[in-house]
Amino acid sequence: MRLGSSFTVALRALARNPGRAALTMLGIIIGIAAVITLMELGAGSAESIRSNIETMGASTILVFPGAARSGGISMGSGTSMSLTPDDYQALLRRCPHVEAAVPIVNARGQVIFENQNWTPNSMVGTAPEYLDVRGWTMEEGEMFNDRQVQSSATVCVVGKTIVRELFNGRSPLGSEIRIKNVNFRVIGVLASKGANMMGFDQDDVIIAPWTTIRQRVAGSRTSSGTSSTSEISTNSVYPGDSSLYPPQSEKFEENYRWSPRFVYVDQILLKAYSPDEASKAMDEIEAVLRERHRLEPGMENDFRLRSSAEMLKMLTETTTLMTNLLLGVALLSLVVGGVGIMNIMLVSVTERTREIGLRMAVGARARDILRQFLIESIVLCLAGGLIGILLGHGAALFLRYYLGWPVIGSVQAVLAAMTVSASVGIVFGFYPAWKASRLDPIDALRYE
């Protein structure tokens, strides 16, 4: 008996009782629809959490200096001044998993515009790539550029909260604000981001070139490594310009272990190509910085690394867990649907005992009968699965358009659903089919 004709026979047998076939399929339809909807919803929410965290900086890594010690008294994390602008450029050059790196110089202070004043949450001196690293966007105007960083231009970009507090919501573009008696021209406004995961207002921020903040706002903290104070290496500040000091050979630079760190930055913010590569990037950063800071093996790091990859991992795991849980429930409903199939197939076998007897009398072997009923239940399940896929996908689309839930359709979900429904057909169709094949043709023919 050929497979094609088996399918025709099965389809014909099902078509003889379409109402019952539809009711039998209902269990499978509901089960598969639930599985498809949940898988698409699960994939959607995982992706949305991922992109949410991405904007919060899942692939970003923060490097900050270690604790300075003064006569046995620790000054706390971030007090040692071990990070230099050269460090961040070296990191950018030498770490293959690092996409971008920017220096950060923090400052605090009062900001004055006309008769208004405000003390922003954070005042950040940085480089133009800062926006890319943080995943922030501009609403108006533009970010300062590299030239303005090199020339320590007094320009800044402000967040929405600043606009509200200092400018009463008017556009601040072109206005001059005063920070510690330095006038800064506002050249851009950041798009609103709301509070971050810790509850800090991320819009209460002023961003300016780090050189400007370093020299004119952040004040002159002394570097622990040198005796000289507030001296600025013009080489670092104006990398393109001719040097003030006679140029030194590279070899000399490398060997001069205790090169004074005239200019330091408070932190270096880096971005890996993806959150998954963050840990690799961290290893590279550590290696490069240890080499640059000439730390011998066994010596402690004079810097620390922090990333939010762990947070992302935890959140994704939570979503995956929830999705799998729901998927489990949906699969359970598939099993119930399968039991329904088995029930109806058993009834069908009993009802068609005479037909089975007849088929055996005209030459059907036991395995032909087994195959016929097995194919019937597989066809039933596959048809149910197909309808379920369409229904489930429809439900997912409905959720997306009317409730705005994130939904991602997947080919794997469809393939899995088809496989599962075919397996349900085989598993739950086998017993009735086996029972049918074991019938004695004489008894079956005589069955009333």
């Binding site: 008996m1 050929r2 004709s5 003889r16 005209v362 030459g363 072997r365 036991a366």
Partner: protein
């Protein structure tokens, strides 16, 4: 050796502790092209004998040769093949598939035939068969749209679809009125004469058995009459 030959065929049913012998040492011989009636009261064992001869059942002991092949002890699958290729069945209650056209009913046995015909060839063969039994107008009718006589003719067409050398008819006229009964029996006679198909008619009605060339009477699981067929030589000798 005859076309159908049994030697000391026994069939015993075991109901718990009790054993019920249904056939006792049945030895018979039927030649190719005979038209035989198998007669006996209900419970005489004629149905059991027919089931064994029709390769639906196995004897408890004894041998059964069909067309020179011992089939009393072969596997179920082999017997299914023998039924498919060598035996046609016609039943009292027609046993047609409901909600299935006459043509589909007729070509159904071909699905189980190895050495396949294309679907088109199957249909052509089925249509030819239906034409033979005089139902070329009713090819696409379902059993419920056919009269009893027509249904039985569809069943005969189905029995003949694989050109079997022998047809077993189990009370083929039991559900038919006398007029159509005559028609159906005529058809068997015709098949026997024109194509040399061996017909074995199982019945309890004497008037039906009369139509056959030879009647085998069974009582209490034994052949009581008609053990020796009216072979052509014997017929001549008798006349």
């Amino acid at each position: 050796m005859g076309f159908i030959e049994t030697r000391n065929l026994c069939k015993t049913y075991f109901l718990g502790e009790v054993s019920v012998p249904v056939l006792r040492n049945v030895s018979l011989e039927i030649q190719q092209g005979e038209y035989v009636a198998l007669m006996g009261a209900s419970g005489s064992g004629k149905s059991t004998l027919m089931n064994i001869l029709g390769a639906l059942d196995r004897p408890t002991s004894g041998e059964y040769y069909l067309d020179g092949e011992e089939i009393g002890s072969i596997s179920n699958d082999r017997r299914a093949m023998v039924r498919n290729r060598k035996i046609g069945f016609v039943f009292q209650n027609f046993n047609l598939l409901a909600r299935t056209s006459a043509l589909e009913n007729v070509i159904m046995p071909l699905t189980y035939t190895a050495g396949n015909l294309s679907p088109r060839q199957c249909r052509e063969r089925g249509i030819a068969m239906l034409k033979r039994v005089g139902l070329s107008e009713r090819i696409h009718h379902h059993p419920s749209q056919l009269s009893g006589g027509q249904q039985q003719r569809v069943a005969i067409a189905r029995a003949l679809i694989n050109h079997p050398p022998v047809v077993f008819a189990d009370e083929p006229t039991g559900n038919l009125d006398s007029h159509t009964s005559v028609e159906v029996l005529e058809m068997f006679r015709e098949l026997n004469r024109q194509e040399g198909i061996t017909i074995i008619l199982v019945t309890h009605a004497a008037d039906v058995a009369e139509k056959a060339d030879r009647t085998i009477h069974i009582a209490d699981g034994q052949i009581v009459e008609g053990l020796f067929g009216a072979t052509p030589e014997r017929k001549e000798a008798g006349q």
